[in-house]
């Protein structure tokens, strides 16, 4: 009958054969870890590699401590506001067209009167509806690349938050329009009639939400119209191939 003496210790080392000294060494290692973790406070630096101190715990206890995302992280979309608080979007449909998931729905509106008093006099169109179905979005970032007006960005560094129903994942202008406003010298409303210094400041904000937040300024009584959330299917793609 085949019988393998599996417990035979091949080691010739006296310490290992005696077993007890090895046990003591094992206990010493365990106790060293225990004492270091007991008496030394935990460094909560979310960059685990950069932690210092004697504590050996490398846990990031998530809801309280969060690991920052890398700078190029594509987070939740935002519609970039202008200085006056309106979206920079000119409803050109480029983002909706390039979107491979077809999750962007835009309805364009036209400025009725060219009021020379407003700085929007050079813009003809604006989005009356700008809706992103965040459940369909595949976070590819093509909309950001396609936008000619730097009007949509994915620099919030946020996830899509959890919701209880699907319609709440459809983000409209009031929810999308957030973050610091941005203006470029090439913006049509910044075109200067003369070479005099401009009265306004260009803010090319390469910022994230939370850094240098400027609340969009709206005129008195003015409010962005909130999209009605219904249980009806949202016609996100109806403008394509009709």
């Amino acid at each position: 009958m085949a019988y393998i003496k599996a417990s035979k210790n091949p080691s010739g080392d006296l310490r290992e054969r005696l077993y007890l000294p090895e046990l003591i060494r094992g206990l010493a290692i365990t106790t060293r870890h225990f004492l270091r973790n007991l008496f030394v406070g935990r460094d909560v630096n979310s960059e685990v590699q950069d932690r210092t101190g004697g504590n050996l715990v490398s846990t990031v206890s998530y809801p309280e401590e969060k690991t920052p995302y890398p700078p190029g992280y594509r987070g939740l979309h935002r519609l970039v506001p202008r200085d006056d608080g309106k979206p920079r979007c000119v409803a050109c449909y480029m983002c909706a067209t390039i979107c491979p998931a077809q999750c962007i729905h835009i309805e364009a509106g036209e400025y009725e009167s060219m009021d020379p008093a407003t700085e929007s006099r050079v813009i003809e169109k604006f989005p009356t509806q700008f809706v992103i179905d965040e459940l369909r979005c595949i976070v590819c970032g093509l909309c950001v690349d396609a936008c000619p007006k730097d009007a949509i960005r994915m620099d919030t560094g946020l996830h899509t938050p959890s919701e209880y129903n699907r319609s709440s994942f459809v983000w409209d202008i009031p929810r999308l329009l957030q973050g610091p406003p941005v203006s470029h010298p090439s913006d049509p409303w910044n075109k200067r009639p003369s070479s005099a210094p401009p009265p306004h400041q260009h803010v090319e904000a390469h910022t994230r939400i939370g850094q240098d937040v400027v609340r969009p300024r709206l005129a008195a009584g003015e409010q962005h119209q909130r999209t009605e959330v219904t249980d009806q299917p949202i016609p996100v793609t109806r403008f394509l191939k009709e």
């Binding site: 310490r15 000294p21 094992g26 365990t30 106790t31």
Partner: protein
């Protein structure tokens, strides 16, 4: 730094509670023996109740100390193991009252959540299980464990108002024999639970438990006989009193000199290191905890309590931890000098605190519980350090290693005691044994030496592999 202060504060609070409870145990014992004297000169029982202090000892030592420490060990098992493994451990349960809101306090509240969970879970009994034996199993597993503590002396006997109060439930002549007898009863609970569950895995666990526990009974007893021979007694208070003698240095007796003298006490661990290892290992196997957790076998069979739920399972679990406490207490009493500081100060303390016997007794009891807690930590550390034994390894260890070791140790101890009744020769041999093991533990092992020898020797400032030199570069450097 802040964490250290918090930890030290927590330790201080724990020691304060232990001290207070011990003092309370003494006071309650004196109050009971005095026949419940009331503030205005009334005495409920005329003439007192001499010898009835065991009631307070059962209440405070067994039901408060052992049970509370065992309960908190369920938390410590998780929290300490987390610290040993560089994790955080339980820290989510909090109580929503002002001042404590959002503070986990090291996970203390998980004790309450565990207890509540156990109490409110459904108490399920399989249809074909034997109802009587199924219910009897946890009781028989739990009761002997608590009964074990009856003979363990926690504090010294002090004179309180004419009553001699000691922190010991009972001091029978048979002393340690009670421990052996009752410890062997615990196997009935587990094997009955395994059999009555009407489950093959439970039966397997029960059989494993009984074979393991019965195997280690022998080594358990033989490990202690050396100490009993050295002090010529089986009563734990006498064993403790024997360990207060100084082998070298210090005062020769506790009361004869009030000096703060240093010396080496005749602790059991110094006299009987092999006996200690044998006893501790065997008793550890009796607790059925890892590395001896084959009866439970979480990863294969769930063990003898696979069919138990709710508080019945809780009883099995708490009895396991109560066994840990009691093993630590018995080991403290027999091998670590009981409630004595040992190396210095006992005589000085006894003389200078003679005016307040209750504080002296509570102080000694606190020292005892400190030793117990340290040994509890050692047991938990063992459980989280060592890999499990295979079943044949368990039996090999019990019958082929521990038993012969204990027998040889017994003969050697007897011979040395005949040679030199002053215990000094025995202690020298003991120190040699301890020194041998420690020297081996501190020595660099053969494997390490061999491993180091094969490593390429790199200068300290080189991090990572050195860049390979171009073939021409070496030749060019010669020119």
């Amino acid at each position: 730094m802040k964490k250290s202060i918090e930890v030290f504060a927590a330790i201080g609070v724990i020691l304060g509670v232990i001290f207070g409870l011990s003092a309370l145990a003494y006071a309650l014992g004196a109050w009971i023996e005095g026949g419940f004297p009331l503030p205005f000169g009334h005495v409920l029982v005329e003439g007192g109740l001499p010898g009835w202090a065991w009631v307070s000892n059962i209440l405070i030592l067994v039901l408060v100390f052992v049970m509370v420490i065992a309960t908190f060990l369920t938390l410590a098992e998780r929290k300490w193991s987390a610290m040993m493994q560089d994790r955080i451990g339980p820290n989510r349960a909090t109580i929503n009252v002002p001042g404590l809101r959002g503070r986990a306090l090291g996970g203390v509240f998980h004790v309450a959540t565990d207890a509540l969970k156990m109490l409110f879970k459904e108490d399920f009994r399989p249809k074909n299980a034997d109802p009587l034996l199924f219910n009897l199993g946890p009781i028989l597993a739990f009761a002997p464990v608590l009964a074990l503590f009856a003979v363990v002396p926690v504090g010294p006997v002090v004179n309180l108002g004419g009553h001699r109060i000691g922190l010991q439930v009972s001091n029978p002549d048979f002393g340690m024999l009670w421990v052996f007898a009752i410890a062997s009863l615990a196997v009935y609970g587990t094997s009955l639970a395994g059999w009555a569950s009407n489950n093959k895995f439970a039966l397997l666990g029960g059989v494993r438990a009984s074979s393991q526990m019965i195997s280690y009974e022998v080594a358990l007893g033989l490990g202690l006989i050396g100490v009993m021979m050295a002090f010529a007694s089986v009563r734990l208070p006498e064993l403790i009193a024997g360990q207060t003698l100084y082998l070298w240095g210090g005062a020769t007796d506790l009361g004869s000199s009030g000096q703060l003298a240093f010396g080496i006490p005749a602790w059991g661990i110094f006299l009987q290191p092999i006996g200690f290892v044998v006893f501790f290992t065997a008793a550890f196997a009796e607790t059925k905890r890892a590395p001896f957790d084959v009866p439970e076998g979480e990863s294969e069979i769930i063990g003898y309590f696979v069919e138990y739920s709710g508080m019945k399972f809780g009883l099995f679990m708490i009895s396991e931890f109560a066994e840990v406490v009691i093993l630590a207490a018995i080991t403290t009493a027999i091998f670590f000098g009981g409630w004595h500081i040992g190396f210095f100060g006992d005589a000085w303390l006894t003389r200078n605190m003679a005016g307040s016997p209750i504080l002296l007794g509570a102080l000694y009891a606190t020292i005892f519980w400190i030793k117990v807690l340290v040994l509890c930590y050692v047991q938990l550390a063992i459980r989280w350090t060592f890999p499990r034994f295979r079943y044949d390894q368990i039996q090999t260890l019990g019958w082929k290693i521990l038993l012969p070791q204990a027998l040889v140790n017994l003969f050697v101890t007897g011979a040395l005691l005949l040679l030199d009744p002053s215990l000094r020769t025995l202690a020298i041999v003991g120190f040699l044994e301890i020194g041998f093991v420690l020297a081996l533990a501190l020595r660099r092992g053969d494997k390490e030496v061999a491993h180091r020898a094969h490593e390429p020797h790199l200068p300290d400032d080189v991090h990572g592999p050195a860049p390979a030199a171009l073939p021409g570069a070496a030749a060019a450097s010669h020119h």
